[in-house]
Symmetry: C2
Subunit: 342 residues, 2 copies
């Protein structure tokens, strides 16, 4: 595409992102001095519409970028906006607080994203599929009740209460703990198949007949670990400041999407491969967000992708800035997690 068309397209997109109003030829001529008259710009605009990059809400309105237009902008036109030093410092500082748990760190990252982008932010993970079991511990909490704690390599801690026969001593529980650890440590959750569990069960049941039902439950529980992923959502309210959500029905359909954990997971879970994913408007499969874009980026521990954070906002968003924030946050998030449980 020739230089002038690109410049005009860019001007229209930037103006629309800034104002939210359809952009007319006069506006472009006035605000961005491209050295041509409105009439010329009108001709170019007609071409750009032909190419599918612009749209007209109605005959006598200005132009609005189409999904394709944004796509072209993001892929070819946009320049990455560097964050200012103070913004970087701020982001870094938010991860330097004492955040004891992996989930707290992720929650904080999500909050931070929502705050800085003024969009809705989502944090997903950490994925447990490729994680392996680090530790299994079983101990009494009161007569007749025990707690199982499982720690995975991705830093997830899961616990579960069990009833145990009153006769079981702490000593015996510790033996079971050791045995479980011996057999389970290092096993990747995805590969935790019933056959392995059955082996353990057989071995255990011989020695600890009284613990039968406990063990069944316990092993069942373990095999479910893989599927559990936490979801954090922040900044929903930010979206409703945007003029595109003046309509209550749009708000409703958006809220119903944001309210379903499954849907969010599908929208935001992109990794691996590592890096940034951008879905603009209709590129998303859900109807309710056909006027929204979803940006996600992966985060990792020791080079392995273990989750996503991302934002959702109107297609008319400041992609350049949002992407910078997203990447910088993800980078700091990864580093914080490595500090925590690498």
């Amino acid at each position: 595409m020739e230089g002038r068309k690109r410049k005009i397209l860019e001007a229209i997109i930037l103006d629309y992102i800034a104002t939210g109003e359809p952009v007319g030829s006069r506006t472009i001529a006035r605000r961005y001095n491209l050295g041509v008259s409105p009439a010329t710009i009108r001709n170019e605009m007609a071409d750009l519409e032909e190419l599918g990059l612009l749209e007209q809400p109605h005959t006598s309105a200005g132009r609005v970028p189409s999904d394709l237009g944004y796509r072209y902008y993001v892929d070819c036109l946009m320049e990455r906006q560097e964050l200012s030093q103070s913004e970087k410092d701020y982001i870094r500082s938010r991860f330097e607080q004492k955040l004891g748990e992996i989930e707290q760190v992720l929650a904080e990252a999500t909050r931070l994203l929502a705050e800085m982008t003024n969009l809705a932010a989502v944090g997903l993970g950490p994925y447990q599929g490729r994680a392996y079991i680090r530790q299994v511990q079983l101990f009494h909490v009161s007569p007749g009740r025990a707690l199982l704690v499982v720690v995975t390599s991705n830093g997830l801690v899961e616990h579960h209460f069990f009833s145990v026969p009153c006769g079981i001593s702490q000593f015996e529980l510790e033996r079971v703990s050791r045995l479980l650890n011996h057999r389970l440590q290092g096993i990747i959750l995805e590969e935790l198949k019933p056959s392995i569990l059955n082996d353990i069960y057989r071995e255990l049941v011989a020695e600890h007949r009284e613990l039968c039902s406990l063990l069944m439950e316990l092993l069942e529980r373990l095999s479910k670990l893989e599927k559990e992923e936490k979801i954090f959502l922040e900044g929903t309210l930010n979206l409703f400041e945007q003029p595109e959500f003046r309509d209550i029905n749009k708000v409703k359909s958006l809220l119903s999407i944001l309210g379903q954990a499954d849907t969010l997971r599908e929208l935001f879970a992109q990794g691996p491969p590592a890096g940034l994913t951008i879905k603009i408007g209709r590129e998303n499969k859900y109807q309710g967000i056909s006027k929204c874009s979803v940006l996600t980026v992966t985060y990792e521990i020791n080079g392995e992708v273990i989750g996503n954070v991302g934002v959702l906002g109107p297609t008319r968003m400041d992609y350049s800035r949002t992407i910078s924030i997203l990447e910088y946050v993800a980078q700091n998030l990864s580093r914080a997690l490595e500090r925590l449980c690498g």
Copy 2:
């Protein structure tokens, strides 16, 4: 108040709850055959307005109950609506699933409330103030990292990762665990004052000089336990089906209230004393919900109040049914928790 006035007031409130439209004298005369003419009803309505129980949106509209009107209805007029057997069975069945953790049970209760009342539902707790420490466990998860697990009498499980000097053996950690348990078991969280922690610290530091910083962090962490309460929120979307939320600004101010954990906690944390609390319209302090009512009920373990569940909806809600659901859910919730960790 004389019988006819009460009947008219009740008719107006019931009609308004059902339709959402201001109620006129003709409507009452037609739908509820009280054996008097619209003119008579008009006179009574004027009286009821004088008493502050009714309001007129404008001169030529029908009447709408005021906060005071609802209050009178709830306190004096309303009959408790029994839930049907199948509804009761349904609620009970939802608590009979395998719900391994106290927080899962609470989350389920909140979802159930939202679903059955068609309002926004909130689950709070379990409160940790009066809970005591049941178990403290400290163990390695990988070289140089340890996990602390604390279990309270209210069934809360908290965990926290620590860096430990590489030289520390599992054996040593177990000794520390035992010592911590010995000193902390049975201590009520509210009474976990710095002085106790300092004692422990002094005792530990003599034997385990290398663990200094770990211990500091650990004790600090313990003292924060009291304040942590989980909040569950479900069914926000339900509210926006109500005609009173056609206006986007109302939606926004409501969402901003529902989005703040602190505010929710303040609104819904009522107990003890045990039982039901009803706040109607302006009786709530927050402006944004001046057209909403908040109903909460306490739940307990072994007779001790440990949390609240509740709903928030427009003042124009079906109080009778909502209250029945709320109480039945709370009762089942208490029972489920007792089964789980009583």
